[in-house]
Amino acid sequence: MKRILFVLGAALILTACRSTRNNYVIREPIPKNSNIAVLIEGENDLKNAVFMEFMRGGYEVKAFNATDFYTTDDVLDVKSLKKTAFVTNLFDPKNSQRQVAVADKVFENIYKLHLFNFENLKAEMLQSLQKRLGIRYVILLSLSRWDAGYTWARAIKLDNMQLVFVQNLNVSRKDDVKSVVASMIDIMQKGK
């Protein structure tokens, strides 16, 4: 039920957000020649199109999330790893069957720690890109709902995981990947 509500909510967001063509906040410009990794959902031809725009924009695009013929979703669904089927709360004070339980307490605590650790480990993994590949910024880009009329992007400085750029962009029939990504790059480089 929750998931249905979530999807419903998300769908309503998307519809309502169309009213605004282009919303963004940028904290600092992402200069040309910066080493970046672009995380993007989609097929390899789409990824290539996006990478080309960033390369044309003067960025040093590091091969991450695009080093083989498979997409992340094909080989490893990270989301499913995280979803540890914690569907119901383990402890229910109104239900005597769910009250006791050393084991429940252990698992409940493990779950809580897991949730915090998951976020911590993601940050650790992303920051390892900086050490291994010299990547300074990670750009997250979603073009998967192009058909629904929107795209979004987010840029994170890996030094301290600082959010430096967020953008929601409504797309129209006239738009293509090239023009959309080019406009994002333009904002990133101008920094305003």
Partner: protein
């Protein structure tokens, strides 16, 4: 964002849930229950004696309702045959809720360094830090929310009482914020929002000048609302916010004899180790994880938000200290929509708690120091109890004269920590100064105080009602420092076993009178 904030943040769930509410002040009765301690130290006695007085004083000033003293709560609890505990079982809290009209119950645990501690070889004394600290776990149960808040307070003996007040006083109904998390703060956020709406929310926070260090949204994965529910209850080093559970069963179950073989034992040991780490060591493990997040992001705070109508909650952690500093379960949102909830959450994150002005805490601290300096035995009040005057005009009740004072002393000691002034000296001086009731005046009281060093004087008269044959006991309480009467009561009782109940009533009345007198001194 350029189009301004969450008003454009366009999330509208179809559920028409009503908006959350904010309870600013916790009204009603706050009862004080058991404070456990490791030993009969002066400090622990002082905390147990003074905390109710100063809490009552502070609550009166902050208009936070009445404080029910430990003796009154103990009497109600005993009448209902509820055990005396620091933390109760859920069903016991339900009973207690009825006793205190859905108010609050405050209990505690006091831990001190032991004065002398032998090392394992039994020889020399183990090293005890030169500067001793005291650690108090203060538990506050709110009968209306059925939530237990635990403050872990580590302080010096001189400041622990005021620190306890500082912690508990700002507590609101289902809300606590140790310090506002204002714009400009470096924060990491974990929130169940999908890409576009997360961007909008981040844009809103950036618009309020927050320095965001990304956790949620640093990859393409999305949290779901239900995944956050277990985070509603959190134990942390500084503050815990939990629903009371059956606590007796939180120990490792024994390994069944039937399954006692090597393989099972290995599994069992593994489980026991896990239990030890994840149950007993949860706060430590959480602090370690929070420290890791701090290292990676340099953020000062981690905010966990679950925007979900009436089920919404927010939790905030201080990443530098590794503990919970903000919890809130209801919000003054315009509607239950996710956008309104998030907007209300951000506002609440910045709204300071209402507490007493600093000068009032200083005044309480000074008053506490003054009380500590007064009286014998490290600050406990010194009370002289004289024999009661026999006005029965019959030899039948002569024995009651000293028995009543002894019974009151005994009864008072069960509910009130004090030092009885030297009995022999008090009786001797009292016998000379107060030969008749008319002899009790400011001058004789001053003389008595000078001779005995007592802070309070208790005595009275008893007579027999000729119509009913009942004993009428007229008790008096005097403040010897101010040389004036501060209370007293007339109690009537048949001369049988019920007399003991009357003695208890008199004792409770006297203790209340002394408490009230000490409060009025600093109002």
């Amino acid at each position: 964002m350029k189009s301004q904030g969450l008003t454009r943040f366009c999330i509208f769930f179809s559920l028409a849930l009503s908006a959350g509410t904010t309870g600013l002040w916790a009204d009603g009765t706050t009862a004080i229950g058991l404070f456990s301690r490791r030993g009969e130290t002066i400090l622990s006695k002082e905390i147990i004696l003074r905390f109710p007085i100063f809490l009552s004083k502070a609550y009166t000033r902050a208009k936070k309702g009445r404080v029910m003293y430990p003796n009154e709560f103990a009497r109600l609890r005993e009448e209902q045959k509820i055990e005396n505990r620091v933390v109760y079982k859920p069903e016991e809290y339900e009973k207690i809720s009825r006793l205190i009209d859905g108010g609050h119950l405050v209990t505690g645990e006091i831990f001190e360094y032991e004065e002398k501690k032998k090392d394992e070889e039994g020889g020399e004394e183990a090293v005890v830090p030169e500067k001793k600290y005291v650690y108090v776990r203060l538990h506050h149960y709110d009968c209306s929310t059925r939530k237990l808040v635990t403050f872990n307070i580590y302080s010096q003996p001189e400041t622990i009482l005021v620190d306890m007040l500082r912690n508990i006083l700002p507590l609101e109904k289902d809300r606590y914020l140790a310090k506002p998390i204002a714009g400009g703060s470096k924060i990491s956020v974990i929130v169940p929002l999908e890409g576009v709406s997360l961007n909008d929310f981040y844009g809103y926070l950036l618009g309020h000048n927050y320095d965001l260090r990304v956790l949620s949204g640093n990859d393409m994965s999305v949290h779901y609302l239900n995944e956050f529910e277990p985070l509603r209850d959190i134990d942390s080093r500084r503050i815990s916010y939990t629903t009371p559970k059956i606590v007796d069963d939180f120990s490792v179950p024994p390994l069944s004899a039937a399954g006692d073989n090597e393989a099972n034992r290995e599994d069992y040991n593994e489980f026991a180790a896990l239990w030890s780490k994840k149950v007993n060591g949860f706060e430590r493990e959480l602090a370690r994880t929070l420290s890791g997040i701090r290292t990676r992001t340099s953020a000062d705070y981690l905010i966990v938000l679950r925007p979900d109508g009436k089920k919404s909650f927010a939790r905030g952690f201080d990443l530098n200290q590794g503990g919970l500093i903000w919890f809130q379960d209801s919000f003054p949102a315009k509607s239950s929509s996710t956008s309104d909830m998030l907007e209300a959450m951000v506002k609440e994150m910045q709204r300071p708690m209402v507490t007493l002005p600093e000068e009032q805490f200083q005044a309480i601290a000074e008053e506490k120091d003054r009380m500590t300096a007064q009286g014998a035995s490290g600050g406990l009040a010194s009370v002289a109890i004289l024999d009661f005057y026999d006005r029965t005009n019959t030899v039948l009740y002569t024995w009651l004269s000293s028995s009543l004072s002894a019974a009151i002393d005994h009864s008072m000691k069960r509910i009130f920590e004090y030092d009885r002034a030297n009995e022999k000296l008090s009786l001797e001086v009292g016998g000379k100064l107060f030969k008749t009731p008319a002899d009790v005046n400011a001058k004789t009281l001053k003389e008595f105080q000078k001779a005995t060093g007592a802070d309070y004087l208790i005595f009275g008269f008893y007579s027999v009602d000729p119509k009913t044959g009942n004993l009428s006991i007229d008790s008096k309480v005097y403040d010897l420092v101010k040389q004036k009467g501060i209370g007293g009561a007339i109690t009537e009782s048949p001369v049988d076993v019920r007399l003991f109940n009357s003695v208890d009533e008199i004792s409770q009345g006297i203790v209340q009178d002394i408490f009230s007198a000490t409060q009025s001194q600093t109002k």
